[in-house]
């Protein structure tokens, strides 16, 4: 009997942080301009521990202005989607719940697009305009998950397979809506159909939006993490959780809203990157076990690592042209989904 301790969680997160660092360095190296791996790692470490403030000037500009922002975006998008998936899995008692599979990402896309369409007509102040798209994403995510949940309920019970089916149908309906709305977007908008349907990290985001994404991630993660030990019980059933002292309604509401915020934010800056919330928690469960106090931070790091790797692959496998990052995650995620559906949910 060796229960989880805060120390164990910290050590494992430390290891994952190191893995993430290595992955980031390698991802920075890939691209049109060759960069020395050793020099890069040395410079980055120097910046991280505050010994120097500059990355070597030969390639510093490319690293700073192009590759690093994209990787940073990938880190927060991946962590958000993965934590959202992990949370939805506990909330819906379904190991296959993922923002993309449940159609929630498409809902967030529709919300974001609607915000983009209406924004020019509202003459908002720039600060508010920047929040407008992620807000639309959040509302779209919140509404979609509520609808999918209600459709998936049958006689007061949530049936796993009905729920998944509702999510798939909602997703297909919402992607049709996305295509319809795309025709109404102002032509100045550079984000295309593939961005919203498959996800893409190549579109630069405004600094303010980046700041919102990061703050939103830490706030949402903190809220969900505070309920981690309640989620451990909730995943065993609402009745059991209630009898063990979990305030079921409150925990469900907090996690539902926080996970919708994470999904909405991620989608509004990167489109619908699929399966991250499915693959990462599954792999993390195999490595670290099912305790949410470990699983949530592990999923955050794992999501960041997975999306950075996927995006690097998206940039390089078909170079000089680029794939949407969602294509890479779907190639890895769809077979895993089938495996889980056949052997775990049966």
């Amino acid at each position: 009997m060796q229960p989880l301790t805060l120390g164990k969680v910290a050590v494992r997160c430390g290891i994952l942080a190191v893995v993430l660092f290595v992955v980031v360095v390698i991802a920075l190296k890939f691209g049109a301009v060759p960069v020395s791996l050793y020099g890069l790692a040395k410079d980055l470490l120097g910046v991280l521990i505050g010994r120097s403030s500059e990355i070597s000037s030969e390639y510093g500009m490319i690293i700073r202005e192009i590759r690093l922002p994209r990787i940073a975006l990938g880190i927060f998008v991946g962590a958000s989607l993965s934590v959202a998936g992990t949370s939805f899995q506990a909330l819906l008692r379904n190991p296959l719940a993922d923002p993309y599979v449940l159609g929630v990402s498409f809902g967030a896309s529709v919300g974001s697009i609607l915000a983009l369409i209406t924004e020019p007509h509202l003459s908002l102040r720039p600060e508010i305009a920047a929040v407008f798209t992620p807000l639309g994403g959040f509302l779209g995510a919140t509404l979609t998950i509520a609808v999918v949940y209600l459709l998936g309920r049958y006689h007061g019970e949530v049936d796993s397979k009905t729920l998944l089916l509702s999510g798939v149908i909602a997703g297909s309906f919402l992607s049709a809506i996305i295509m319809l709305f795309m025709t109404m977007l102002p032509s100045s908008n550079t984000r295309g159909m593939a961005y919203w349907l498959m996800g893409d990290l190549g579109t630069p985001t405004l600094p303010l939006l980046n700041w919102i994404l990061r703050t939103g991630f830490f706030a949402g993660f903190a809220l969900i993490y505070l309920t981690a030990s309640d989620l451990n019980l909730l995943i065993a059933g609402e009745k059991e959780a209630m009898h063990l002292g979990v305030d079921v309604k409150k925990v469900q509401l907090v996690v539902y809203l926080a996970a919708s915020v994470l999904t909405g934010l991620a989608v509004s800056v990167s489109g619908s990157i699929g399966y991250v919330g499915l693959i990462v928690p599954h792999v993390m469960r195999m490595i670290f076990g099912t305790d949410y106090r470990m699983l949530l931070p592990a999923s955050a790091f794992g999501g960041a690592i997975a999306v950075v790797i996927a995006d690097t692959a998206a940039r390089t496998v078909a170079a000089p042209s680029e794939l949407p990052v969602g294509a890479i995650t779907a190639i890895a995620g769809a077979p895993l989904f089938i495996y889980l559906l056949r052997w775990r949910l049966a």
Partner: protein
């Protein structure tokens, strides 16, 4: 002796408002109505029900299907709110307690939902410490001690490192009971705990429960179909039919042939055994007594 017992003794503080200081749980004229749609007439009603449970006492709620047994149990657990009347545990209404406070005092043993992800037996029993933990609830040395102790008390110490989905039905019920003990409750509620057990495991389970109830001074309410096991192990029985509480008393006083025949709609005989416990023999095959 054990950590479980010590803290229960501490918490069993005297309660001035009671006539009998030993009364832990008091169900006072409790009624309830259930309707799926608020505008429609209720499809199930529970008529005013009253009984009391003392420390160290097992009370069994008996009755045919749909008699309201489980509703009474859920009302006691605070999961449902009574339409009228009140349910007091050491003087506080169970429904208005905070979920955490409630789980520190009341433990429920029920048929578990299928586990979504595999868990070890010790992890499962440690869940019982959840209502006692701090905000993030990482378990302490003391929690581990209490969980181990609870497993020992139900005689399942050797199962500690097994997986929950790889132990037998009888072992599983013991582990679920151990989790309830780890909550260090004053009131133990059990919903058909022997439902899927073979006869040997049933007797084993109830024997253990009996022993622990006396040793730890739990107040115990158990819902069951098993007339003879209830007759053997309960101090009091509550006989219910169609949402009505018909009788409350010792098994010997409640187990009357005419009454049981009418309630369970089957022919049977009742004999009083030398230990003062009644024994029911069913003359035709029936659902109620297997």
């Amino acid at each position: 002796m054990s950590a479980v017992r010590d803290s229960v003794v501490e918490r069993g503080a005297p309660d001035g408002s009671r006539m009998n200081a030993d009364v832990r749980l008091s169900i006072e004229q409790v009624s309830y109505a259930y309707s799926p749609n608020p505008s429609q007439a209720p499809i199930f009603t529970l008529e005013a029900t009253s009984f009391q449970v003392r420390a160290g006492e097992i009370v069994a709620i008996l009755g045919p299907n749909a008699s309201g047994k489980s509703t009474v149990l859920r009302l006691i657990a605070g999961a449902l709110q009574p339409l009228s009347g009140r349910i007091l545990l050491n003087g506080s209404e169970t429904h208005s307690m905070e979920p955490r406070t409630r789980a520190q005092r009341i433990a429920m043993v029920q048929q578990e939902s299928q586990l979504l992800f595999p868990a070890r037996v010790w992890e499962f029993v440690l869940q019982g410490r959840h209502p006692h933990g701090k905000s993030l609830r990482f378990e302490t040395e003391n929690d581990v001690k209490i969980a181990k102790n609870a497993l020992g008390q139900v005689g399942a110490h050797q199962l500690m490192d097994r997986w929950m989905d790889q132990i037998s039905g009888g072992e599983k019920q013991r582990v679920i009971l151990a989790r309830a003990l780890a909550q260090q409750p004053v009131l133990l509620l059990l919903d058909e705990p022997t439902l899927h057990l073979d006869i040997g495991a049933q007797v084993d389970f109830l024997h253990t429960l009996r022993k622990l109830t006396v040793a730890n001074k739990y107040a115990v309410v158990i819902v069951t179909h098993e007339l003879n096991l209830a007759g053997e192990y309960a101090d009091q029985v509550v006989l219910m039919q169609k949402g009505k509480c018909l009788r409350v008393g010792t098994p010997a006083s409640v187990y009357q042939r005419d009454l049981l025949e009418q309630v369970f709609q089957t022919q049977l005989t009742v004999e009083q055994r030398v230990n003062g416990r009644p024994r029911v023999n069913v003359l035709e095959s029936s659902e109620e007594t297997k």
